[in-house]
């Protein structure tokens, strides 16, 4: 049993009916999450991430496919055994407004035959000083850390975190990241969904990019970025968007892998900034194209997604 992967999904399918429409939320998804890794599920809204996680958590019954969590299958008479070994942090949970932190944790601790004490869970998320505080007096970050603490009470082997840092300030996000790192350092496995690329890059050993119910890319963040063929971008803003900076001449430069135009902005994907940048500037100057802004940046998982689908991960969403 200890050899089985933390999560093993084979040909998972789930459709929902929305009025007269049938929405294929998960469409033949395969995924294996090994024990001891922090695994990220990335994708735009509606890609099927949450449905996949809910199937893993036993909240949603798939139409077909095989699901094994820590070597066990849901609805095979072992549901309680699975629940005893997993910890879940939903996207949003409203605990009773008048309950204090200690009471919420005691309630959840009562469900587990073995696990951490309330004090230990509080220490894991650094909420000791808020032990007697009521829900309504907690900040968003503190509430989220409390939600994670409830998930850690059973000393789980596998932790599900569904967009745990959405809407949190940078400091709260970093505090939660530390909680995840500490948990992993003790041998825990995490399945994390997020649409923050930096979060996935910071935390995840491996990520799966999900689109339209399928895994379209799988690997470590570094591997996926390397798969672009180049890891840097040179971005130039032209004074005159109609200037004749033809893409072909830029693409012909050494180390320039791809060129994309968006209005007055020219974005060159380059293998190495220090050789490509002088060449690009020289080429623009040669053609008399003036620029009023220049920046370089590393490639991100967002670029991987754009490269694979031609769309942005959070089209219309926050930056």
């Amino acid at each position: 049993m200890s050899e089985a992967p933390a999560i093993d999904l084979r040909d998972l399918r789930k459709t929902y009916r929305k009025g007269r429409e049938t929405v294929r939320a998960v469409d033949g998804l395969d995924l294996v999450v090994e024990r001891g890794e922090v695994f990220g599920l990335l994708g735009p809204n509606g890609a099927g991430k949450t449905t996949t996680v809910e199937v893993c958590e036993g909240l949603t019954v798939p139409d077909s496919g095989e699901v094994r969590i820590l070597g066990r299958a849901w609805r095979g008479g072992e549901d309680d055994a699975i629940r005893a070994r997993i910890g879940v942090c939903l996207q949003e949970t409203k605990f009773h407004e008048n309950a204090n932190v200690d009471e919420v944790l005691r309630l959840f601790r009562s469900c587990f035959d073995r696990g951490r004490t309330v004090d230990e869970a509080l220490a894991l998320v650094s909420l000791q000083e808020k032990r007697g505080a009521r829900q309504k007096s907690l900040s968003g970050g503190q509430r989220q850390r409390l939600a994670v603490a409830t998930a850690l009470l059973g000393d789980p082997d596998l932790l599900f975190l569904d967009e745990p840092t959405t809407g949190l300030d940078p400091q709260s996000r970093r505090q939660l990241w530390q909680v995840v790192r500490d948990y992993r350092a003790q041998g825990g496995t995490v399945l994390l969904t997020t649409h923050y690329m930096d979060e996935a890059q910071q935390l995840c050993d491996r990520v799966a990019i999900v689109d339209r119910g399928k895994v379209i890319a799988l690997g470590s963040p570094a591997e996926l970025i390397r798969s672009l063929g180049a890891e840097h971008f040179v971005v130039a803003d032209l004074v005159d968007p109609d200037a004749a900076a033809d893409d072909a001449c830029l693409l012909a430069l050494p180390d320039v892998v791809a060129v994309e135009r968006r209005g007055e902005r020219v974005e060159c994907t380059v293998a190495s900034v220090h050789t490509a940048l002088p060449a690009i500037l020289a080429a623009l100057e040669q053609r008399g194209v003036a620029i009023d802004g220049l920046a370089t940046r590393h490639a991100t998982l967002e670029d991987v997604f754009v490269h694979l689908t031609g769309r942005h991960l959070r089209a219309g969403g926050e930056a």
């Binding site: 958590e57 036993g58 909240l59 309680d80 629940r83 005893a84 997993i86 879940v88 939903l90 996207q91 949003e92 949970t93 409203k94 605990f95 009773h96 959840f108 009562s110 469900c111 587990f112 035959d113 939600a147 409830t150 059973g154």
Partner: protein, 345 residues
């Protein structure tokens, strides 16, 4: 104030309501349904006769027989003790007995139907005897003996009503709120079992109703002199079992509902008939036909009657075991159904 802003907010508020089928049903559908049902129930045309108790004796049979000809009166011939009890329990609006020289009427004027009964009895006797030389207008006594007044009738009913409200709303509304806030989903993914969760929740809530019930009881006893003649243990058992049955109903109603509007409507739909027919404000023994059947299947009817048995009469556990068992059983059925139907999400 900018009109376009007001218009935009109003339109949004309208749409929000209109797109929630449950809210639309409970706002428009349910009151219409009630209007139709109550319309059928109350459209018989003939007014319901007012129940009066006549203390039986040979003289009374002679002099008070004309009361039986009055179609607006429903006359019951009773022993003196039964007449007093019937008045105290609201089964009759007034009692009539033959005094030394004239009839003596007895009622508590604070009862809604007492004055009507008195006027009807006096009119009928006047019609029958006013031509006679020794005719004397009936005397009237105000029923003010503790245990027989309207307030004595009302207090046990208010305890029942409180059990109904606290039990159903305390559980039903909160469960749906927990479902809306994802707390039930969160609990579902722990090893907590459905039975553990529901039993714990019901226990926590039904324990709360006990002090509430005894607060109302003490208030009635101390402030209004309402008697407490029966067994305290029986009263405690009734309150606990009453709390259990109503929390179980609340749990059943909330077992699948996804919005607080819908559970509010559903609970009102169940509570309102019990408020009207459950024997809190007037005795429901006099109801006829379907209304009587409806009243008899309502848990509130049996909670109220049994509470009156242990407060107004020297009722013990032995006297109320049947309603106790029936109520506990009904609560068990509701709880079992709730367990079966309950959805975490």
């Amino acid at each position: 104030m900018r009109w376009r802003v007001v218009k935009a907010v109003a339109w949004q508020a309208f749409l929000e309501f209109w797109r929630s089928p449950a809210a639309v049903f409970w706002t428009y559908g349910f009151p219409l349904m009630m209007a139709v049902v109550l319309g059928f129930a109350f459209q018989s045309g003939e007014p319901e006769p007012v129940p009066v108790g006549v203390v039986d004796s040979p003289v009374a049979r002679t002099f008070l027989a004309p009361l039986e000809d009055e179609p607006l009166l429903d006359v019951a011939w009773l022993s003196p003790e039964d007449a007093d009890r019937a008045l105290g329990r609201g089964r009759v609006a007034l009692t009539v007995r033959w005094g030394q020289e004239r009839e003596v009427l007895r009622s508590d004027p604070s009862r809604p139907e007492a004055t009507l009964a008195r006027l009807l009895v006096e009119r009928r006797l006047r019609e029958a005897y006013s031509g006679e030389a020794d005719y004397a207008r009936p005397a009237h006594e105000v029923e003010d003996r503790p245990g027989s007044r309207y307030i004595d009738f009302l207090i046990p009913g208010l305890i029942g009503l409180n059990l109904l409200g606290a039990g159903m709303w305390g559980v039903g509304f909160n469960l749906v709120q927990m479902r809306v806030g994802n707390l039930l989903r969160r609990i579902f993914v722990t090893p907590m079992r459905r039975s553990e969760f529901l039993a714990g929740y019901l226990l926590g809530r039904s324990v709360l109703v006990v002090p509430e019930a005894f607060a109302i009881m003490s208030f009635g006893v101390v402030l209004w002199g309402v008697p407490f003649r029966g067994s305290l243990l029986a009263a405690l058992a009734l309150v606990v079992v009453g709390g259990w049955v109503f929390t179980a109903i609340g749990c059943l109603l909330a077992s699948r509902v996804r919005t607080t509007e819908a559970v509010g409507g559903l609970m009102n739909a169940v509570q309102l008939p019990m408020w009207i027919l459950g024997g809190t404000f007037f005795a429901n023994e006099g109801l006829k036909g379907p209304m009587r059947w409806a009243a008899e299947v309502m848990p509130l009817t049996h909670v109220n009657r049994a509470l009156r048995d242990v407060m107004l009469e020297p009722g013990t556990l032995l006297d109320v075991w049947a309603p106790l068992a029936a109520l506990a059983g009904a609560g068990g059925v509701c709880f079992a159904l709730a367990m079966r139907l309950f959805r975490w999400q």
